[in-house]
Amino acid sequence: MTLFTQQLFNGVALGGVYCLAAIGLTLVFGVLRIPNLAHGALYMLGAYVTYFFLTTVGVPYVAAIGIAALILFVLGVLLERLVFHPLRNAPHTHHMIAAIGAMFFFQSVAQAIWGADFRRMETPISGSLHILDAEISAQRIVIIVTAVVVLALLTWFIKRSIHGQTIEAIEQDRTGAALVGINPAMVSMLTVGLSALLVTIAAGLVAPINLLSPTMGDSLNLKVFAIIILGGLGSLPGAIVGSFALAIAETMTATYISSAVGEAVAFVVLVAVLAIRPTGLFAKAVQR
């Protein structure tokens, strides 16, 4: 029972990380209609930039995440401007291929700067809490709390702020949004930037638990795609539910069956979901 509680908390913490990564990705899909295959690489870069400011420059942990998030926001904007924007009218295969090129580029850059070896980021938050007999590390608590706070802020941003509302408007109806004077090009940049910012927060939070490597984004990339397909591409509630469901399923299978099965569970679920509903579980019914 103790093991179960412990793993449940680990699962929820992992879910928080997935959630921050998945929400950005699903927003980008909703606004740009692009599955950004470079999302995992942005996560990886976010982790390294946080590491750089924390370890090499020596700023406090929270500031390091903040600076990294801003840098990645700019990088996301540039990615949209230089790569996705020129391809906005190209066949859908083209922007996926371009995103793959960007992904390789980011990985190579990270490897050139920080090397291919694993690096450890010392956790500035130590200690642990006892909840229901289980020992939960403080870092995981921080992850869960931050995820909830960021999600709340994001919801507020989308519902209340002008920028957020335009994102939502475009997500729902691109032509209509253009007609009422929203500039889709601007919103596209903003959205990719925001997704990079969110995924950097996720990376900065999880980096002290995991090791850093240039390919650390690969499996996250695939899992987050599984999540947003599960939740229906472009759906925010779907991404949130999918993140926690998948993270808990993954932690539990890894604990009680084997770690390889835990890693594969996301994809097995994904294949099963697509077999039943080719457009995801929570997707709006397509008129057919």
């Binding site: 599955p35 390789f104 190579s108 994809f267």
Partner: protein, 358 residues
Amino acid sequence: MNGLKNPRILGTLAVLLVVALTPIAFGDEAYIMRVITVGLCSTIAVYGMNIILGFTGQLSLAQGGFFGIGAYAVGLLTTDFDWSFWQAFLVGVVGTSAIGYLSGLIALRTKDEYFAIFTMAIGFIIYLTISRWEAVTHAHSGVNNVKFPAAGDLVDFSNPTAMFYLVFAILLICVYITYAIRRSSVGRTLLTIRTSEDLADAIGVNVGLSKQLAFAASAFFGGIGGGLYASVVGFIGPDAATVDKTFEFLMFILVGGMGTVAGPLVGTMIVTFLFEFFQDFQAYRFIVLGPIIIALVIFAPRGIVGYLGGFVDKRARQRRIGSVGANASSRPHDSTGPEASARTGTSADNVTTTEEKN
């Protein structure tokens, strides 16, 4: 053979001839021959990608996985089970096609992004199985001493040049199959789906079944390429099945030209040489190659062969206009021209938008 007057066929034959003659230049250098032969194995897998991505317009990210299945089937069966290469190869290719056909049962229901991500998941499941199922695949220790094909006393396939010609012969068959598909109604069916699934459906194309068969065909080629690769290099590890492998194939086809007959060969050969050139900074090659991929899709999405082909078509059309021009321009409404049709086209579009909302 009036085909010899066609510049496309002529060009493809010229490229094949150049490749066929490489052993004359490099026959003594085993390393270079091996690099080229491995390149030809990749080319076969890229021809598979060409069918699903180039012809059908669906981005499949499972090709590396299929390549891996073919490689591991040959690798494991010829070592742990002591089969002959040919038996293992046959089983590997049939098995890979079957897996492609079965996963195609789900893939046929998905489209666009969903198809791409679905196939990425298939590719990753294959990779995870190979890299983690230690009892069968030896995981990261890989498979050593994969057998060469045997042909009695006739040919010794441990000779790099002999192996080169075996792979080249099989490649020729693949190029021919691509050519035959391209000009048959099967190819037309796939190209129709690439242009518009709805329109394809409206003229009676069974889109789902066609996609499934195209996916199975891509797996078939992937299995052939992987099976040969295992024998050529003699040692295989899980990296033969990674998603990175898929991305490599993607780059090959992009450089050569999607949907063309010669593109996969041209692209793979050029990029393979580039990779060799960047050998010393292997790990950083994508600092240069990544932006090249992006620039290619933005500025040159048709690839080398695609552009040459477009050039040939344009000249052919100009010649034809030169001969029948007087006849065509005598039609009265021809003077309305594209501008007029563009204008009326827009008004028709407006009608659709309002109509579709009902």
